[in-house]
């Protein structure tokens, strides 16, 4: 694209909004939109947009801004008529506006999202595990016939009885008793 005409710029803007611009095309856009005093009115909003994004720092001249104010053109975002046909005019092209942001800004927000997700997981883990650790340090539960008994004493008693029973196996008196009882 050697000759820079408003029509070419419109095409370049379309490519830019689709996120398909090359560095050379961006440079062309910057140079053209930076000389805002000779911009057609419909391209003025894009010059302002570029200025806001800080990519080319175009500075529309006072005359151009006056002309824009006098004309009060509504931003014709359907530059070459394709966005409006498929997406419904302004609303459809608004989505195109965001496409250049899918580059660095998009990645930035993605990273921020990941960080937020990680922070949420860490917070949930802390909240869930902290009381559990305390509970784990001291707990006593018993299950009888599939029913949970939140009776610490009962749980403790069951445990003690099981151990007494097992450790008493080596007890000679009990062994004799078992023999006499026919066990």
């Amino acid at each position: 694209m050697n000759k820079v005409t408003p029509e070419n710029i419109r095409l370049l803007l379309t490519r830019y909004l689709d996120g398909e611009s090359t560095q050379e095309e961006l440079q062309q856009l910057g140079e053209y939109l930076g000389h805002a005093d000779r911009l057609p009115a419909d391209l003025m909003p894009y010059a302002q947009m570029f200025a806001l994004l800080g990519e080319t720092q175009p500075t529309p001249s006072v005359q151009a801004l006056d002309r824009l104010a006098a004309d009060r053109p509504s931003p014709d975002l359907s530059l070459v008529g394709r966005g409006a046909d498929t997406n419904g005019g302004l609303a459809g092209n608004k989505s195109n506006y965001s496409s250049p942001c899918k580059g660095e800004a998009g990645r930035g927000s993605h990273r921020l999202g990941l960080l937020l997700a990680a922070a949420c997981i860490a917070a949930f883990a802390f909240i869930l595990l902290a009381p559990l650790r305390l509970e784990e340090e001291s707990m006593a539960v018993a299950y009888v016939d599939g029913k949970k008994l939140d009776d610490k004493q009962a749980a403790m008693r069951m445990g003690q009885e099981a151990l007494q029973e097992i450790f008493s196996n080596g007890n000679q008196e009990e062994q004799l008793s078992n023999i006499f009882n026919g066990l």
């Binding site: 997700a117 559990l132 009888v144 599939g146 445990g159 097992i166 450790f167 008493s168 196996n169």
Partner: protein, 152 residues
């Protein structure tokens, strides 16, 4: 995010009852061998066990058939392979009629100074067997435990 939370909650819910994880008898504690409705189970952790120098005491008791008794016995014998030694200070064992009658086995520590024990007892009455299975861990030695729990 939702799936992650569900997984997290599931892990957290499983933690308290997995003290003897890694042992074959864990299957019995989990109710995979004998229906958990038939189990009498107790799980005690923490300060209640301090007088016994224990940190975890997990017991199950159930009455079952010979077939299931054999399965439980086999699992216990598998775990016995991880015993610390055959010395009296680490092991008590008795077989009757070709089956394990009772056993107190110290198995290898997971952490230094934290001893682990598995215990088994089977009592036969007619065709039914009442089995008691215990897992415990703590600083107590087998001598300490004998002193505490052996009936005079």
């Amino acid at each position: 995010m939702k799936q992650l939370l569900i997984t997290l909650v599931a892990i957290v819910a499983a933690l308290p009852l997995s003290a003897q994880k890694g042992l074959r008898i864990d299957e019995v504690f989990k109710g995979n061998i004998v229906n958990e409705l038939a189990l009498q189970e107790s799980l005690v952790k923490g300060e209640s066990l301090e007088p016994y120098k224990l940190k975890v005491l997990h017991t199950v008791k159930f009455t079952t058939s010979s077939t299931q008794r054999d399965r439980v016995e086999a699992l216990f014998e598998e775990d016995m392979k991880g015993r610390l030694s055959d010395d009296d200070e680490n092991l008590e064992l008795e077989y009757r009629d070709g089956h394990l009658y009772y056993a107190i086995v110290q198995i290898a520590d997971i952490r230094k100074g934290l001893h682990r024990y598995i215990c088994y007892q089977s009592r036969t009455n007619m065709a039914e067997h009442t089995i008691t299975l215990v897992y415990m861990e703590g600083k107590a030695s087998l001598a300490d435990l004998r002193k505490t729990f052996k009936k005079k």
